[in-house]
Symmetry: C2
Subunit: 248 residues, 2 copies
Amino acid sequence: MVARYERIADALRDDILAGLHPVGSQLPTEAELAARYLAARGTVRQAVAVLVAEGLVGSRQGARRIVLGKARSQSFAELHSFAQWARANGYRFGGQMITQGRRAASPAEAARLGTDEVLDVLRLRTLEGEPVLLERTVYAEWVAAAVEELAPGCESVTEALYDSIGLVFAYGEHLIDAVSAGAQDARLLGVRRGSPLLRQRRITTTHEGRPVEWSDDRYRAGSVVFSIRNSIDANPLVRQAGDLRFGA
Amino acid sequence: MVARYERIADALRDDILAGLHPVGSQLPTEAELAARYLAARGTVRQAVAVLVAEGLVGSRQGARRIVLGKARSQSFAELHSFAQWARANGYRFGGQMITQGRRAASPAEAARLGTDEVLDVLRLRTLEGEPVLLERTVYAEWVAAAVEELAPGCESVTEALYDSIGLVFAYGEHLIDAVSAGAQDARLLGVRRGSPLLRQRRITTTHEGRPVEWSDDRYRAGSVVFSIRNSIDANPLVRQAGDLRFGA
DNA sequence: TAAGGGAACTTGTACAAACAAGCCAGCACA
DNA sequence: TGTGCTGGCTTGTTTGTACAAGTTCCCTTA
């Protein structure tokens, strides 16, 4: 059962994408929308709030709402999983486990993941045949066994873990910066040592807030761009001075 | 007049930051909070929704809400303005206009900014005495005059434009990737040519959705990290294959 | 002992109503 | 002509109520 406000939000989003409400134009008023969809004003407000959160619509008290853009946003799964992202966008992709092994957690890892032992995995992902992403992932001990079961050429770790133990990745925190390629980075990604890489470090947790993995993902420059929409009201993006958190 | 739900959200955030609700613990139920703050359940829900949007609290139907983290998020102004960000975090900072001049807009710029003529400005920003950020900003024609009025050493362009013509930056779209330093980048930032830079391209608009500026900001690697929190429900971050949008 | 079935609890959705606050166009006045 | 104010419109806030849906845990039963 999909909520009413979600269906209204979908309908409005489709209208915007279809050009019925061009960028820069005004959205119908809440009263109009309520009449059109035979819903209470509060329900319509919830629907519009979805679009505002997506950055598609701008809103401020007293003034009519405005269409800001028409880009569609991705699901969490698409952001989290390289495979789901690539598949949703129609790319050819692949993945290969390079090395994998258990070891004792460093103090920082123990604090982040809440376990003494970790499973350290290095994976290389390709897009359209080109090596694009190097993933250095550290898994908490309680998922290590399930990860070790995976085939070395497993395309989607996220999906495989959901199928095998019902694991759902629910929350993430991401740190994005630029680093130069080390010797191993350069060799595996096929770039020169010292060339720029886009680094995304992230920690992912379950619904319960239980940490699952800590990953250091490095993209070849030019292969991937992160996009964020924000506003004076909603600001998901934060700038931090370098390397203050999470150690090196 | 601050809204009630905002004051409740502030109180809850303070409690979390103060450790009254540790990371991983459960938040009080809506009913409890409503009783404590003498507010209707709907109002409490709005307050909690703020914290959920900030990524501090996780929420799902049927289960008690969970404290996910205690990082405080920045305002849009702090993200948008280097000066406001640096000041709020207690850093010594500076800025210097390097070159500035009007020229005809390229087709891409005309499409983005909606003007035929643009003002092109190159600025270098320093943090703790070190050159850290190179801003290549293109302003729409209708703000060009106000920007030209600014002093070359103007610390905060955002604040200066608000003071002079009441301009408010309200919405932004950001593209984040890594590039290697060109000759000019290297010289001004004091790094070697080809060394990694964190690039943030952004377009900023007014409340009305009117584009004001298009900027290409390059940070020296290691000086700045972007941080984003997301969840299966709220996902502000999007990954895109390289250089599909906004041209080069 | 383990699986299954609820009952109680908690969050999510929807409606209705009233007032507050900000925006904007049009009117009156200088 | 242009300035300032006012009134209508639109979005924001708050309360109250009812039901839906998911979670959790205990108790029953095999």
